[in-house]
């Protein structure tokens, strides 16, 4: 008869795999969002000012690029990295877990900083940036949950 530990281990591993799978899927949403913003930025177009949106203010601000490189491009690279590592983790490549946690933590801190800039410096919110913030927050929660499967 298998012990309690023996039966729960595969189930925990499966749960972690599912969580990593969901993480990869959510990262795809962030990737699509940031690819769109990167292309808009590189094509030199600024989003039109409308009565209901603050996108033009946020995306035309000096914070939208770092030394000429669009921040959204950096986001696309980060989302792709998260997608790749989470996919690998879901398929049992456990060694990528720590790197994934590190990247998601860095992304979450960046998101907090960008939310602060939108709220208190630029005084406008851009819906594409808010979507990215939501995605990164979800990724952070999922990674914490996936990590907990390992701990217990």
């Amino acid at each position: 008869m298998p012990s309690v530990n023996e039966t729960s281990r595969p189930s925990l591993a499966r749960r972690a795999a599912i969580l990593y799978g969901v993480t990869a899927f959510i990262a795809l949403i962030g990737l699509a969002d940031s690819i769109y913003l990167t292309v808009e930025h590189l094509s030199g177009r600024s989003v039109r000012c409308t009565i209901t949106s603050g996108c033009s203010e946020v995306l035309s601000s000096p914070y939208a690029s770092i030394r000429g490189f669009p921040l959204a491009g950096l986001g696309a690279v980060a989302y792709f990295a998260v997608f790749s590592l989470a996919t690998l983790a879901a398929f049992g490549y456990r060694f990528v877990g720590n790197l994934l946690t590190l990247i998601v933590a860095a992304m979450f801190l960046t998101t907090l900083w960008l939310l602060y800039l939108q709220a208190f410096v630029i005084h406008h919110f851009c819906q594409f940036c808010l979507l990215s913030a939501l995605v990164t927050t979800s990724l952070t929660v999922l990674i914490i949950l996936a990590k907990r499967q390992k701990v217990h």
Partner: protein, 230 residues
């Protein structure tokens, strides 16, 4: 197989991402083809004349110029600030006999906190015959006053720079005549279905926002000129 499957998925997503980026880039850089035949204008949305707007309108160029470009702008809107040097370039390139440029006030309040003050300042300069000088200064220094808490002394500084009677300017800023001019331009904007800024009409037809790049605008103006003088 299970060991290589994640790498296949990753490679597939990388390829799909690059293709999507390429597609989006192409879609955004497509130039409308100028039509050589009269009556088949590349400017997409035809509009009715709408409400008249403030009279006289702020206009540069000959009233008989074959091409009239009417901009609905907000001085605090960053893309309007980007469009400003483009229009200056077109004005210099085509000259007053070919191109007439009209500016209409469309301050996006309350989204842009200083937009109305900027519109008032430009209009007050207009009462002393210096609308375009103030218009240029406000756009060119958009980043300087955009973050300011109180923009009034900044605009008064601009008024002094362009040689206005500053005391008169300060009084005019809050005058009813200016209030009415901005209201009438706004009424015209709404009658034409303007949703945001900058919105540009070329000979009464709305120019799509993605065609506000210099080369695209030139192609549209050339087409209008070709239509006017076949």
């Amino acid at each position: 197989m299970k060991r290589i499957l994640p790498f296949v998925i990753i490679a597939f997503v990388l390829g799909a991402g690059l293709l999507t980026a390429r597609y989006l880039q192409r879609a955004s850089s497509e130039t409308p083809t100028p039509s050589p035949t009269p009556g088949a204008s590349p400017v997409t949305t035809a509009v009715n004349p709408g409400e008249p707007g403030a009279e006289p309108a702020h206009a540069l160029g000959d009233p008989k110029a074959p091409v009239t470009l009417e901009e609905f702008g907000d001085f605090e809107c960053p893309p309007c600030g980007v469009l400003h040097p483009i229009l200056k370039g077109l004005e210099a390139e085509y000259g007053s006999t070919k191109l007439r440029i009209i500016f209409r006030e469309f301050p996006l309040v309350p989204n842009h906190v200083h937009a109305l003050a900027a519109a008032r300042a430009a209009e007050a300069a207009g009462l002393q015959g210096r609308f375009w000088e103030m218009h240029d200064l406000i756009y060119e220094h958009q980043k300087d006053w955009h973050e300011a808490f109180d923009v009034r002394p900044i605009f008064e500084g601009y008024a002094k720079t362009i040689g206005l009677d500053v005391a008169q300017f300060s009084r005019d800023i809050t005058s009813d005549i200016i209030e009415r001019r901005i209201f009438l331009d706004g009424k015209r904007a709404h009658s034409l279905g303007v949703q945001g800024t900058p919105t540009v009409f070329l000979n009464g037809k709305e120019v799509p926002f993605e065609s506000l790049a210099p080369d695209k605008l030139k192609a549209l103006i050339n087409n209008e000129l070709a239509t006017a003088h076949p």
